[in-house]
Symmetry: C2
Subunit: 251 residues, 2 copies
């Protein structure tokens, strides 16, 4: 049994997605929906509010509710922890720590300065493997002022991403995605020719405004893609295909 409010949302969403109600079109008032579906206003309101939360409609007091204009494509990228993701894809995951040291923050590096301007960090370089083949090279900094336990953690067996997920609570993050040519070191680690185009994923993570970790992962060439499938802003009610959105995909 689908709930009534979900049915109303779904039927409205279908008419919007089909183009029957184009952007700018007014959709029925709440009191019209209550008459149409024989429900209380709270139920109709909940249905319409769900569409508003999804960005499908805009609500204006006194005027009504209108189909929104899809100006920007907002795609929800799920950026997974690599160990989890490789296993989810049924591949053999392996991991190797290449280097580890503790040093002060270098505030002259803009990537580092965004994390913190002072204090000590653990600096790691490691490799992730999928089915015995190098998948990514990871450079990571963990700020010891925020996560002091990282100083004694053993990153030769546990990838830092997995370790942090288990040791740090909810946080904010910023991701940047770019492309860059592999330098000699990275190319060797990925077992590709120097100069190969790499996908570069950088992520800064904060907790209560203080930088916890910075990570840069480089994936070889076109062997990897970030994937984001979405309904406008993920409104997954109306019986549309519901396959889980993979964040990454090998070719």
């Amino acid at each position: 049994m689908t709930a009534l409010h979900a049915r109303i949302s779904g039927e409205l969403a279908d008419r919007i997605r089909s183009g029957e109600w184009p952007p700018g079109q007014r959709i029925p008032f709440e009191h019209e929906l209550t008459a149409q579906y024989g429900c209380a206003r709270a139920t109709a309101s909940k249905a319409v509010q769900a569409l508003a939360d999804a960005g499908l409609v805009e609500r204006r007091r006194r005027a009504g509710t209108f189909v929104a204009s899809p100006r920007i494509q907002t795609a929800v990228l799920e950026i997974p922890e690599l160990k989890t993701e490789v296993r989810r894809r049924g591949q053999v995951y392996d991991y190797q720590q290449l280097a580890r040291r503790v040093r002060p923050v270098n505030p002259l590096d803009p990537d580092e300065a965004s994390l913190a301007r002072s204090g000590d960090v653990v600096e790691l370089r490691c490799r992730h493997f999928a089915n015995e083949r190098p998948l990514a090279v990871e450079d990571r900094l963990i700020h010891l002022g925020v996560a002091p336990a990282a100083a004694t953690a053993d990153f030769t067996t546990v990838p830092p991403g997995a370790w942090l997920l288990a040791h740090v609570a909810w946080s904010e993050a910023e991701h940047r995605i770019a492309a860059a040519a592999a330098d000699a070191d990275v190319a060797a680690a990925l077992e590709v020719p120097t100069g190969t185009a790499c996908l570069v994923l950088k992520r800064w993570t904060w907790r209560e405004g203080k930088g916890v970790t910075f990570v840069r992962q480089r994936f070889a060439g076109e062997a990897f893609e970030l994937v984001a499938r979405f309904a406008p802003r993920s409104f997954d009610q109306g019986g549309h295909e519901g396959r889980p959105t993979p964040g990454m995909r090998s070719k």
Copy 2:
């Protein structure tokens, strides 16, 4: 005046984000919140449900509501229409159509086959400029079976992305992001050396399950980044910084 349900959501979210309530911790029952805030259960329920929608907590019947484990980083990427984005950044936008033709779909190309297996498409190649410098090369297919008006549209002055936004209603899309070396043609169009690492953004757009358009945009090297800033799954209540998330950023 903030609404009471928003205040409750915010106060709960703060305790979760601060780590005071770690993942797995049970948060107060709805009936405890009604007592604590002196409100009806519907109000407490709305507050907690908002956190659940944001992915911050999980609700289990009979057991209660628990702080969720942040397994995957879900980042909301806003992938803007280029003309709008360049102007938003205060730069001069320019656009040039390089080639245009109408031809049948080639079902042997996997990118095209994902769009449609038969019918005619408009094939376009064009360039986007920001401040007189090439920003991206765009290859686009528009399926004439779904958007017949594209056959007669003038894409020498209007970029196809902007045209489609104005002519096509809400739709679903899939994005893929990868890195690739620029071939000779693309390198020339971007005015960079052949082999330069490029960020490749591919997007398929469907409407009611039928492919509308496929676009591949290539950005030169590290000149461009996709940016996604987020609270866990975008719960923006509790007085955190609210700067609009830019989807792209030039260096």
